[in-house]
């Protein structure tokens, strides 16, 4: 829409202004890491952060979310509508790409009102990453290192200023009345271009093949022995899916309160990596082996989501790799599948060695 510039010194005023009408959340340092949390003052936020433990999807799809409340007197249950206007400040582009996928998932065929209600009330202010956040991230390989749309505002760190790409009216409204905002000049645009040109070589390409090959690689790797090898290592702890920005599987459960006369139905994040995830009433488990569950996870990320929604199910944030206690990573997994497929000699020797 338009391109603006704000001096970094206005950030405190800007946060104060936003907080007059809505909740503001952003990356905050905590115990040596960063987490998205409520921001009350500019001193709490750190926009130059590496990555967060849990992705900001939790504001659209909370870890636990009430769907209904009810009384046990035969009356009809009530839908919980507790979405509040929220600004998510400082999303990295990988996490923004992940929300593009979730937008499609929750709007397809049946509209998921809990997600959509939060989505409509959320303003997304993303920020350009200028340096790799950690060794596990591989956003450049996944094509998520930058972003062209899907944000309300997008910030680029220009030293003393932020370049602000205004993506929507909702984003423009966030800047309304803020003193210090000015239209970008040609010179500002050159500054952004220089920053972008300089940032690109800092990020390594970590996949040994072009990511557009990934869905077909996953198709032909369905019967790979690698899944058994991963299954042997996997602890089925579900950390990988808990920290994933594109995972959205959930369970639904009821809880009756202490009065035994009322309660709620809530949904809670679930994981295809957990033992009972695909178990039906008579006890049959359709994905009993960890190998099958790892395969399912990687096929979802590398192929199924692309088939269903046109977007890859992995954005290369690296959180699952960082969280995994036995070092199962998407980069190693996909590169190994590629090697076994395209360099069978080395693949065979590896399998013998293993």
């Amino acid at each position: 829409m338009s391109f603006k510039v704000i001096p970094k010194t206005v950030l405190p005023d800007w946060i104060d202004q936003m907080r007059l009408s809505q909740r503001v959340v952003g990356p905050r340092p905590l115990h040596g890491q960063h987490v998205f949390g409520d921001v009350h003052t500019a001193a709490e936020i750190d926009l130059d952060y590496p990555t967060t433990v849990i992705p900001p999807k939790k504001y659209l799809f909370p870890q636990q979310e009430d769907l209904l409340t009810f009384r046990l007197d035969g009356s009809a249950p009530r839908v919980v509508q507790d979405a509040e206007p929220t600004v998510v400040l400082g999303l990295h582009t990988c996490d923004l790409h992940a929300l593009h996928l979730l937008d499609r998932v929750f709007a397809q065929t049946y509209i998921d009102q809990p997600y959509m209600a939060r989505r409509e009330k959320t303003t997304l202010v993303s920020i350009e990453c200028l340096r790799p956040c950690m060794s596990h991230s591989f956003c450049k390989s996944m094509g998520t290192l930058s972003v062209t749309d899907g944000f309300d505002l997008h910030l680029t760190d220009l030293g003393d200023d932020y370049g602000v790409d205004v993506g929507t009216d909702k984003g423009a409204a966030l800047l309304q009345g803020l003193s210090g905002v000015r239209d970008a000049t040609d010179d500002d645009q050159h500054r952004v271009n220089r920053v972008m040109t300089e940032k690109w070589p800092r990020f390594p390409l970590r996949l040994e093949f072009d990511v557009t090959e990934l869905p077909s690689l996953m198709s032909v790797s369905y019967d790979s022995k690698l899944w058994d090898e991963l299954g042997d290592r996997c602890l089925a702890c579900a950390m990988c899916t808990n920290v994933c920005p594109t995972c959205y599987c959930f369970n639904v459960a009821d809880e009756v309160d202490l009065t035994l006369s009322a309660g709620k139905r809530y949904r809670v994040w679930d994981s295809c990596q957990l033992d009972k995830f695909a178990t039906v009433a008579d006890g049959h488990n359709f994905r009993a082996k960890r190998a099958a569950r790892q395969r399912h996870r990687f096929l979802r990320k590398g192929k199924y989501q692309t088939d269903a929604f046109g977007l890859l199910g992995c954005v290369g944030c690296g959180r699952c790799a960082q969280a995994c206690l036995v070092d199962i990573t998407p980069v190693d997994t996909w590169n190994e599948l590629y090697r076994r497929r395209h360099r069978p000699a080395s693949g065979e020797s590896k399998e013998v060695a293993a």
């Binding site: 769907l67 249950p77 509209i111 959930f250 639904v252 295809c272 995830f277």
Partner: protein
Amino acid sequence: MTQALRETLAEPSIYLPTTATIADIRAVGKREKVFTIELPRGVSLGNQPGQFVEVSILGVGEAPISISSSPSRSNGSFELCVRKAGDLTGVMHTLKVGDTLGIRGPFGRGFPIERFRGKDMLFAPGGLGLAPLRSLINQVLDERGNFGRVIIAYGARDPGELLFKDELERWAQRSDVELHLTVDRGDESWTGPVGVITTLFPKIEVHARNTVAVTVGPPVMYRFVLMELLGKGISEGSIWLSLERRMKCGVGKCGHCQINHLYTCQSGPSFSYAEIKHLGEAL
């Protein structure tokens, strides 16, 4: 889109069940009861044979249950045949006529009956598989003239596990229905054949090119029944099944029912064998 589904979409949440009333309850097996359910204001469920609903009891939870009645006999109500198996079904079995429960749906893809018309129908339910298949069988019987032969090959664990005995009786007496029953283990009262369901197939002659086979049963049954059906020369596209999965949300979101890339609650639970034979997780 059915009227019930339109109403669901007009609701503020796809997860909000409609409060429905139990109009009748009858036992049809040792562990199975049929619940006749009425939606408010006489609204018809508008289901296709093979679809399911999410049944909920507030404070207990929600579970997918296949619809056992055919649209041709809806009459302002529908039937669920429920085996007492888990938390929700256990509580369901304690409910009485006049009690309420929550309904969402109907969901999923039913059997494409329009493609079956003019064909000989071979139904092969195993155990509780008769519950969903009964909806299709009765639909076919209610428009009997549109179909060729109607063959039912039904197997259960023991005579006490044969469901819908009154209906089996009526089907047995019809000259236009060929009913074959078997039980894995007989008892003193049982005079029919003893053996698993596949032992019925050698007795059944079919005109393979004009036959549609529909089989619903426990996961372990499919591989063996499919071998029999394919062995008779029935084409892969003319063999239909209903796959059981944990369809927790019913609306293609929660992920529990996935068979490879497919959400069973959306693409199924009814599938032709041709549609799923290449999927490693299907059978």
